[in-house]
């Protein structure tokens, strides 16, 4: 979706300001928000793409004026309410008002946290057809504007580039984010020049690599 999360090429935000000796968390609640997000996702009620789509579906003004852990928290609340695991009344009351809904997987136990973080969630999958493109192929990204989730950024739509790497098969987020299946596809690193993306006058010494699923691409 053409939401506020798709930031590449926007202007007016000012310089990037890094913080010397930045702490991992700037406040106690940030660590709790991270932990809650990971613990809740372990219940198996949504996948990583559903989670990303919940965050990017925030109103653009809300997204841009929220810190990152605020975005995560708002996304988490949205998912929990959608799945019937939390009600707005409970959030208002600050306590549980109804029994827990059944979940796909049991709650993560503290003893299993190291194993869960070590295993992660690999997204590579076998694909039932050979790769559509090879290293060196010229391809053009499709000009798509789906109302749902996509990982093809606006700045890289309808642009011509070269396939530089073929990464193998991966879960397709555009369907997985809507519980419409993993539909794995080949993923390619496609390299675009600065002038192709940004026009005349762009840095000729710039190239940008975007990881693209096969259905984002057509042969030129």
């Amino acid at each position: 979706m053409n939401g506020a999360q798709d930031l590449g090429g926007m202007m007016g935000f000012g310089p990037v300001r890094s913080e010397w000796n930045e702490p991992v968390f700037h406040a106690h609640w940030e660590g709790r928000a991270l932990g809650l997000t990971l613990a809740a996702s372990a219940l198996g009620e949504w996948n990583i793409d559903v989670g990303r789509h919940a965050r990017e579906s925030l109103h653009p003004a809300d997204y841009l004026s929220s810190s990152y852990y605020e975005i995560w928290t708002k996304g988490l609340v949205k998912l929990l309410v959608e799945r019937g695991m939390l009600t707005p009344a409970e959030l208002e009351a600050g306590r549980s008002l109804q029994t827990a809904a059944a979940t796909k997987r049991p709650a993560l136990a503290a003893a299993n946290v190291p194993a869960a973080l070590t295993t992660g969630g690999p997204c590579d999958r076998p694909v039932d057809h050979p790769a559509l493109f090879a290293v060196g192929d010229r391809v053009r990204t499709r000009n798509i504007n789906p109302v749902g989730h996509t990982r093809l950024p606006r700045y890289a739509r309808g642009k011509t580039g070269l396939v530089e790497r073929v990464h193998g098969g991966f879960v397709f987020p555009d369907t997985n984010a809507h519980r419409a299946g993993e539909n794995p596809q080949w993923v390619y690193s496609v390299v675009f020049t600065g002038p192709e993306l940004w026009g005349d006058g762009a840095d000729a010494g710039l190239t940008v690599a975007v990881d693209c699923w096969g259905s984002y691409l057509e042969r030129v």
């Binding site: 590449g8 190291p114 295993t119 992660g120």
Partner: protein, 215 residues
């Protein structure tokens, strides 16, 4: 995105314990933790274990070890090029947000810079959790259109003849930059080399420290 929301909160503050004031978001997260715990969705000690992991066990010193090994051992560098996930796992760094790793090497001809314009994708097992600037709008907006401007924000100026390659982490591949090895470090131990490898140098917003800055 506000970077210091705790300090610039203009909403009504509720009063927490011991007279302390907590911003709305802190209260909301606390309520959420209470509710999810009461319902059994979140088990005791789980959040503490996750927070402790990312505060004390997983961070950019991991990635610095990978880079120092790559600088020291050509066979290891070759393994990183062939299968970075497996080569990084040799050092024990595996897991969430590092399932599919790729290394990209800086040379005098090309400098690499990593961004996630769409969210905050970042190689957690080798770099830890991303800093605020990496996740915030200025970096995500500017990196793909004006990377030399981003480098200037970090006080870095590359020679004009050095090309810049930006990697937008739009899929599940996670990129680790191998910065150029600083001059004057021949024969150094991996441990000493690692002290020159900063987090930012492995994202590409900075260079490795000069030999004189070694620990």
């Amino acid at each position: 995105m506000t970077q210091h929301d705790d300090h610039h909160h203009h909403h009504d503050h509720a009063h927490g314990e011991a007279g302390s004031e907590l911003p709305d978001i802190a209260l909301r997260v606390r309520a959420l933790e209470t509710i999810l715990s009461e319902k059994g969705y979140v088990q005791p000690g789980v959040i503490d274990a996750i927070v402790e992991t990312y505060e004390t066990k997983i961070g950019p010193r991991n990635g610095a070890q990978v880079v120092a090994r790559a600088w020291s051992d050509p066979a290891y560098l070759e393994r990183l090029r062939q299968d970075a996930t497996a080569a990084i796992a040799e050092l024990g760094f595996v897991g969430r947000q590092g399932e599919h790793m790729v290394v990209v090497e800086n040379t005098p001809r090309q400098h690499n810079l990593v961004v996630c314009t769409l969210c905050s994708c970042y190689p957690w097992p080798v770099l830890g959790l991303p800093p605020v600037w990496y996740k915030s709008a200025p970096y995500r907006a500017k990196a793909v259109i004006d990377p030399r401007g981003v480098l200037a924000d970090f006080g870095v100026a590359l020679p004009a003849e050095t090309a810049i390659r930006v990697w937008d982490s739009t899929a599940e591949l996670r990129y680790l930059v191998i910065p150029m090895r600083p001059a004057g470090t021949d024969g150094w131990s991996e441990e000493r080399l690692a002290s020159l490898v900063t987090r930012d140098s492995m994202i590409g917003t900075s260079l490795a420290l000069p030999a004189g800055d070694a620990a």
